[in-house]
């Protein structure tokens, strides 16, 4: 594994190359509280190109700010910094990483050549509408290492609505040129993701099959 550090404002993002190769890269996005794997997972073994994995802000080998300020949109920009380095990529996201993958697919449809959304930590997120106001304080007792406790608090409780997520899906569908720019293989479907699946339609599939389709496209 080799690691490149990319600057996103004051944050140094760790982008790991798990497997070298030629052709379009596959970019792996981890779940909330996780970090990038050190070797390619078995279910991406069939991907023909290089495999990379990003540590989000506050996770893994990326900077841990420890002051709060996490949003899904910030993590979307983390991925965009990685895409500025990698160029066109296909993205496989776990949990929170799956939600972020949908956002970046809609925001940079010219760079994202297919997204696969898998189960994982942080898939659910917070409420889907206005709710009781509450100020959550992070568990600051684990020392300085990752993951950032503020990330856990803020990204487990962020608002996620189906219409917001579907807006990004619609961007991806209209501007990526792909027939099916987003594939949901996650079995757990919170309201926002159920809305995405309703919008997408399509048949159930697996990570392997979805990646094979994007590799061929």
């Amino acid at each position: 594994m080799t690691t490149t550090h990319l600057a996103h404002n004051q944050v140094q993002l760790a982008l790991h190359q798990l497997r070298a190769g030629t052709g379009r890269p596959l970019l792996l996005l981890h779940g909330l509280g996780e970090r990038a794997p050190t070797t390619p997972p078995d279910h991406v073994a069939g991907w023909p190109g290089p495999v990379h994995a990003l540590d989000f802000t506050g996770h893994g080998d990326s900077t841990v700010p420890r002051c709060g300020g996490y949003t899904a949109e910030l993590l979307m920009a983390d991925v965009d910094i990685a895409l500025a380095h990698l160029g066109e990529a296909t993205i496989l996201g776990r949990g929170l990483g799956g939600y972020i993958a949908i956002l970046i697919a809609g925001a940079r449809p010219e760079l994202v050549r297919g997204v696969v959304v898998d189960d994982g930590p942080g898939l659910h997120g917070g409420p889907s509408g206005p709710t009781e106001a509450v100020v959550l304080m992070p568990d600051d007792t684990r020392g300085d290492g990752p993951p950032d406790p503020y990330a856990i608090v803020e990204l487990a409780t962020d608002t996620r609505t189906a219409d917001y997520a579907v807006t990004f899906v619609r961007h991806a569908a209209e501007r990526s040129g792909l027939d099916q720019p987003i594939t949901v293989v996650a079995r757990i479907r919170p309201d926002w993701l159920a809305g995405v699946v309703d919008h997408l339609g399509g048949k159930p599939t697996t990570v392997e099959d979805a990646l094979a389709r994007y590799a061929a496209g």
Partner: protein, 311 residues
């Protein structure tokens, strides 16, 4: 706290004779972020907290706060993260601003406080008053009540195109941030640039603000505000959700609205909030005044606040 000022700054500040720099500055830590807290008035007077609006800083209260202090209050405010002299944080969010404000509350004590918030600061306080009502004795909101202002004549598809442009522009902005510094300018240049956002405020006042919220480097003046911060934005939350916090406020509430169109204004009118006013709430609408009610009419608004908190 006029500090180490030279003739240029002294001359600019003299053009706003009612302005007075705070009497004290101190630091508060919110996680790893260091916040600059400012105070006007007798240190032993009862505290009154003021939250500034987005892209402002505590120094924008240099006329208003001394008027409140002269009414017998220890006026406490702070530069929100990324603003004024507070740290440029690596990341920003609404919830981090709410949490930062708690650190400032905690630095004052545990008794409930009279609180004044302008614009974003008012909206932050609306949310906090629902989450932690025990921190509030009274609340004054200066043109910071959010409503669902939108563009109903824009079709959904057009809105989709509009949003895609916003998304790309925002991501491009994020790509440029590493190592980015604001463009240097003259003191007058910075004041004129701010006039685009604050066209109703006098150029003397805007020049004054440069001497407080700006920094003079070897190559010119720059605003201290973190260039990572950007007007506008997008996300799943809808601004009008903040309005839902209004109805349940249990302490005396005063809303002060400006009616004149203003680039930074929220467009909220008395009729938008009347149905959701809390039981002990009232709204005063100031005609002929824009978004910065406390800057355009400091004496009038300070008197409203002083009379309200004295009840």
């Amino acid at each position: 706290m006029d500090g180490d000022v030279d003739d240029e700054v002294r001359q600019v500040r003299a053009a706003v004779p009612l302005a007075r720099r705070p009497d004290r500055q101190r630091w508060v830590h919110a996680g790893a972020a260091r916040l600059s807290v400012w105070e006007w008035g007798d240190a032993d007077a009862p505290p009154l907290l003021v939250a500034h609006g987005g892209f402002d800083f505590a120094g924008t209260l240099d006329v208003f706060a001394p008027m409140l202090a002269a009414g017998g209050w220890r006026v406490v405010s702070w530069d929100q993260r990324g603003h004024g002299d507070s740290d440029h944080a690596p990341i920003y969010s609404w919830s981090s601003d709410v949490r930062d404000s708690l650190a400032v509350f905690d630095s004052i004590g545990t008794d409930p406080l009279p609180v004044v918030g302008h614009s974003k600061g008012g909206n932050l306080m609306l949310e906090l008053a629902e989450a932690q009502p025990y921190r509030f004795r009274t609340m004054v909101n200066l043109d910071g009540i959010p409503t669902g202002a939108n563009a109903p004549d824009v079709s959904e598809r057009d809105r989709t195109k509009l949003l895609s442009g916003e998304l790309a522009a925002w991501l491009d902005h994020r790509r440029r941030l590493a190592g980015h510094r604001r463009r240097p300018d003259t003191l007058d240049g910075l004041a004129k640039r701010r006039a685009v956002m604050n066209p109703r405020l006098s150029i003397d006042w805007l020049r004054y603000l440069v001497t407080v919220g700006g920094r003079r480097d070897a190559d010119g003046w720059r605003w201290k505000t973190d260039p990572a911060l950007r007007l506008g934005g997008f996300g799943p939350r809808r601004p009008e959700w903040g309005l839902r916090n209004l109805a349940g406020i249990g302490v005396p509430f005063l809303g002060v609205l400006g009616t004149e169109p203003d680039p930074m204004g929220w467009g909220t009118r008395e009729g938008d909030v009347g149905g959701l006013l809390p039981r002990h709430g009232e709204v005063v609408q100031l005609d002929g005044v824009g978004h910065f009610v406390h800057i355009e009419k400091p004496r009038e608004v300070a008197d409203l606040v002083l009379e309200f908190v004295a009840r």
